[in-house]
Every structure is written in C-alpha cells, then in structure tokens.
Symmetry: C2
Subunit: 409 residues, 2 copies
C-alpha cells in the first residue's frame, strides 16, 4: 500500500492559488435588490456628499445659536418666526440673528442658521413669535453637508460581502446596481456503489446519498451556484465522462468518495489524467479529511476537488478548501467565528491539523465549547455541532478553560 505524501492545509491552498488566480473570477453587474451576500468587485466612492444639504436631526426651529446664549427655563429669549420648511422642499429662507424657521426632522436648514432648538424647549406665543427656553450649542441638532459621507470618499471596499446594512448605504447613494464577483458554479458528483438516491429502496449494504445534499446546501451558503448533482457508481469510465462533461460547465467540480487508495478509488488517477496541473495534492494533514485530492485544469479553468466519502470530512474540507480559497481570491475577509472556553482538555495530533466539531452553550456571558466525541463516521454528530475548532499539529493541544476560536457552522 502506497503511503500518501500529505500536504498541510496551507500548502494545499497555496498550490491551488498557484493556478486559480483572481483574474479567473468573473465580474457581473447585479441589481442592488439582488446583491445580498454577493462580494463587491469594485470600491464604492460616494458620488455626492451625504447629506447634500444641512439637515436637521430634530423637530424644532433653526436658529443662530448665539441667540440662545444665557437662555434658561426661567430666562427665555424671543425670536421672530419667519417661516416653516416643508419636508422634501428646498429651503429658500435666510435667517439672521433674532429670527427662526420651523424645520421638521430631516428637513433642510435655512441659510444663516447654525443650530436647531428642539420643539419641547420652545413655545409658540403668536403666529410669528417664539419663546426659547434652552441654550443650544453650535451645530446642535444638525448634520452638516458631507458629515455622513464626504463626496468622493471611499465608502465600501472591494471584497465586502454585502449585508442589509451595506445595501442601505448603497441605496443612500442612489446606487441601484453594483459590480460583484459572479458566483462560482459548482458541479457535485457523489461516488460509490453503495450510494442510493433517496427515492430508491434501502437495501442491505447500501446507504442514502448524504454528500450531494450536504454539499449542495453548503455551496449555496458559501454563495456559490450549483449546476448539478450527479450520482455515479464506481465505474472508471462513467466517472471519467461525467468529470469531462462537467469541467466544461462548472468552475468547481467536487467529487465525494473514491479519494482514498482502494482499488475502486479512481479520483486521483482521473484527476491526474484530466486536469492540466495533474494532481496537486493527494492527502492533507488533517483529521478528519486526509484522503483529499486537489487539481486544476487551465484549459477549462476548473478547480477539481476530490473529497472523502465520509460526510463529516467532506463537508469540513469543502468549507476549508473551496470557501476559504474563493473568499481569499475575492479579498473577502469575513469570518464567522466566536471565542469560547473549552470545557475539556483536548489533545493535538502528531503531524495533523485536527478539525473537531464542538457544541456550544452560553453560561454567564461566556460561550463554553464541548467537543463532540463520536466514532468516525457518525452522521448524527453533524446536527449536534454548532461549530468546529482547528487544533494545530504538534502543539500541546488545548487545555480546559483555554480560549478557543470556534468557526460557526
């Protein structure tokens, strides 16, 4: 039995980056409403100042703040009301000392005014006379031109994954479409004579196809599009033809199963044959997930990933390779991590990065991470896990109560 020469996860990723480069990424224009969760492929500069007029943040009267100097509840000052601003209208008034204009929240201040006094600190004595009962500071209740976003300032960076809040900011700038990275297109192949489609009857020795469903859902979560799901039995020719066809159509072809060294494990030899790079990595120093294969084909521009058949390992490696590689290519630094305290000691493994599923509970404003110990291959551990920790190889492991970074699933 030939021993695998394993790569670390970092080296496996670097080998992919030596082929799959930023230039490979497609860019497309998306309507703002459809852009959620997409990654910006352009820097966004403010096309105009926000606000583009002096804006009130309160309901009240625009005044010259000096007119309120020394004013108290028992020592009011009196101003002449020269008008009222309507929402959404240009303010054509101009005030001087001793005058004021009514402005609603969000309304435009008149020329000459530098502050707002809130309605509750005023009293309208007659149609054109106002008593004010508070000393207000310069610029109180006012957002100045460009105070929120200066004209031409950088508002959002390339690589930002768009959340509702960024979409709100883009809307404020009147931007209705943005350049984003096109979603990578994934084709999923599930290998194995033992794999049953869910509509088939369960018979002895066979199991239902988990990976197609798990990887499909993950791909969607990562912001990928899924081209197809294909189940193929352990027939070298059929697998080969399936890969050839899908390489032409997808950016990523993911195979699960067939990645080890058994007599029916054809993935390594097929990727070696079909990808221009040959096999880049066969075996990653990670537990679980060692029998993982990577390759890249320059002609069809396809990343090929041979993942283990074991669902837990397949899903973890899909995240650690495909998601991380694409996030890095897109300059997207998002991390979905929390810090937690370990409930137990946890050993590191010699020569292997350990990826350990954990459950999380919160206690006294602190998250506690409890490793889910289960026999290799237990699928139910997937649904129990809230996240995973990565334990470096050749370290002392993690001690009880130590802080760890938990990657949320």
């Amino acid at each position: 039995m030939q021993l695998l020469t394993v790569d670390t996860l970092d080296i496996a990723s670097q080998k992919i980056f030596s082929y799959l480069q930023k230039e490979t990424l497609l860019i497309e224009e998306k309507l703002l409403l459809d852009s959620q969760h997409c990654v910006l492929a352009q820097d966004i500069y403010a096309p105009f100042a926000v606000p583009h007029f002096k804006r009130s943040t309160v309901d009240g009267y625009a005044i010259c703040h000096k007119d309120s100097t020394g004013v108290t509840e028992s020592l009011p000052s009196f101003l002449k009301i020269i008008g009222k601003v309507e929402m959404g209208q240009e303010n054509t008034f101009s005030i001087k000392s001793g005058e004021c204009v009514y402005v609603p929240t969000g309304g435009m201040l008149p020329q000459g005014a530098d502050s707002m006094i809130m309605l509750e600190y005023t009293e309208k004595l007659t149609e054109d006379e106002l008593a004010i009962y508070q000393n207000v500071a310069y610029n109180a209740g006012v957002v100045n031109i460009g105070e929120d976003m200066e004209e031409k300032s950088l508002v959002l960076k390339k690589g930002t994954r768009l959340r509702p809040h960024e979409i709100g900011v883009l809307a404020a700038l009147g931007i209705t479409s943005v350049l984003v990275y096109a979603k990578p297109i994934v084709a999923i192949i599930s290998l194995g004579d033992e794999i049953l489609a869910p509509e088939q009857e369960l018979t002895m020795g066979k199991v239902y196809d988990i990976n197609s469903y798990g990887l499909y859902a993950q791909a969607k979560k990562f912001g990928f599009d899924v081209l197809s799901i294909t189940r193929v039995c352990d027939d070298r020719n059929q697998i080969k033809n399936t890969i050839i066809k899908l390489m032409q159509l997808a950016d990523i072809v993911v195979l699960s199963g067939g990645s080890s060294q058994g007599e029916k494990d054809f993935t390594a030899s097929l990727l070696g044959e079909l990808a221009s790079s040959g096999v880049l990595t066969h075996g990653i120093a990670i537990k679980p997930g060692k029998p993982t294969i990577t390759a890249y084909d320059e002609f069809s521009k396809t990343l090929l990933l041979g993942l283990p058949g074991h669902p837990v390992a397949a899903m973890l490696l899909f995240e650690l390779l495909a998601q991380n590689v694409y996030n890095q290519l897109m300059d997207c630094k998002e991390e979905n991590c929390i810090v937690a305290k370990m409930a137990n000691n946890f050993p590191s493994a010699d020569g292997k990065l350990t990826c350990q599923l954990v459950d999380l509970i919160i206690q006294n404003k602190e998250y506690i991470a409890t490793p889910i110990f289960s026999k290799s291959g237990l699928i139910s551990s997937l649904a129990k896990a809230q996240g995973y920790i990565l334990v470096d190889m050749n370290t002392e492991g993690i001690k009880k109560d130590e802080q760890v970074l938990v990657h949320i699933l």
Copy 2:
C-alpha cells in the same frame, strides 16, 4: 404635544403575541434541496436505524476479536480468508473463529464478525491465508446497527433552522421533503415627501430611499419573503389605500417613516383605524427607535409595524420586533451572538433600553467591541457596524473590559 406612553421592548412583543399566535403560521412541504434556512415545523424521527447494518469504518478484515488476543507484531496469528465484501452489496458470508472476510470502509460486516482489523496490521500470505499483527478490541472499527441514529429516535426538533448539516442528516434518512413554516410575507412601505426613488434626480431637501432597500435585504436574511416595496408621499389617503391593499396580501406590513407625532405622521392614526387591535404600542423605551408603532389585524391576519424613518433605527427595530417575534413563534432558538470585551465604559440610559452599534476586532483570541459613536442619523455608521449590544435601562451601564453579548448584524 402629546407625550408617548412608551412600552418596553418585552411588553411590545408580548402585546403582539396576544394576537399573533402559532396557529397563524402556515406550514408547507419543501423539497429538501430547497429547505435551507427554513424552520422545521415537524419533529423528525429516524424511520430506520442508521446504520441499518453493521458497518466497517476502516479498510481491512472482519474478524472475531478473540482471534487477535495476545497478537503482537512479532507474534502474529493466522486466519483463513473466506471471502471479500463488495461495497454496496449485502454480505452473505458468515464467519466463525479462525476465519475472516475482507471489508472496505463503509462495507457490511459478515455474520459472526465483531471487529475489524485494519489492512496495515495484516499481511495476505496466500489467496486464503492472512497474518494479523495487532490485538483488536471488541467492536473496533465497527459502527453497530442504530449506533448513529436509533430507529424511531428523535433526530431533529421542530423549530430547528435547517443548515447544510441538518440537510445532510435528513438525506441520510432518505427524507426528500420536510414540513417547514411558510416564509412570512412582508410588504414594505416607505413614507415621506422627502424620499426619492433611486432613479430620480437628487434635489435639495430630498434624500434617496434607504429603508426600502435595507428592510428588503433584512427580510430576506430573516427568512421572510418580500411581496412589494412601495414609496408613498405624506398623503393620508394614499397611505391608507396602500395599507388596506397590502393587508390583504401580506403577513407583515412594515411602514417606515411617519411614526412620530408630527402633523404629517399618519401611521399611528391609520393603524388605529385599520387594524382590529387598534394601536397596541406607540413608542418603545428604546434608543434609537422610540417612535415605533405596532398593531394587529385579526381579519386579514396581518402584523402592522410602523418603524421610524431613521434607517439605523428602522433596521434595528425590524430585527428586534419582526425577526424575534417570528423566531419565537416558530420555536426557533437560533442566536447569532458572540461574546466580546468592551473597549470603553458605556452608560445606560434612564428608562430606555439602549441599542448600540459596535465594531469588532479580534485580539489574542478575544473579541473587542468598540461602540460606534455617531450623530443620530448618520447612515455610514451602518456599514461600519459588525453588531449591536443591548444595554438595559436603569443599570450602571457597561464598564470597560466587561464581557458583553454582541448580536451580529
């Protein structure tokens, strides 16, 4: 000016729950592939044991473990190979002491075998003679029937939001469709004479519509469907007709703007007129977001929310009210929180819950939360924020270095 009698956020939610009840939720059947992020409306029991046959977790030989007692590298034992199991095939062999059968990872163990010995601790001497070099324990390398999931055991609870991992578990059970809560349907109305559609030219006194876009994206993120976005100027009749029409079609009608007490703030009087409950809450003891209105109409079964026009407040309240209320109705306990250390002292507000946007950085395996201090109304603070903290009213506030729960945006 009439002072608002404010409710706490909890009381505002409770008032909604006194009308909007679990029975109002619709349930629908979804294909597993389309069920991601949906909330299960049924408990899922395993229809059969997983695995449903004794399964090997290694490549090797199925043996009676007693045959390996005392065996070492220098003191092998010898077994008779009586066959080879093919993947996905029913194993019809039966072994007794002194015999073994080859079984690949995931393959079915023969009758009589209780353990697996890994290939690397064996040597095939002839076609039917195997030397074994290791003492293996009872059940080593074996997953027993039902060890992963017992037949009829509860696998996933009602209220679970389906992630890729749960979808994998459901696939393992051959389940291709599930009962989930139908996505609540939201209609969004953005009010204000100052609000411009993004395709309109920016003029003095007007601003682009932020809330339609921000609330749309949030609704999608919360797992809601959006029926429509409507911009209406401050015309009571037009607003009324819009609400009446949308109440018939949507589960939630969200209005932003017009929720305060100005002369053009029609939301409260209209909701009072149109919703069978009348106004439930007008004013929540929260900062920002005080001018928030809730109502419920029993005839059309619509939750009506009048949110502030201020985008930061509107988006926070939409999350705190609509998302939290629906998650609770669906028994969905997901929380997207992390624990962080405060970078500064932060005061509480008298009589108000403070919802403060924070930025997050990670330092020495610890998250540091820095409040984003900005003038009320600054939109750019939205994109800078990673999350928010809730600071209880009438407390001492939060001290520098104190642990806080940050809700991730």
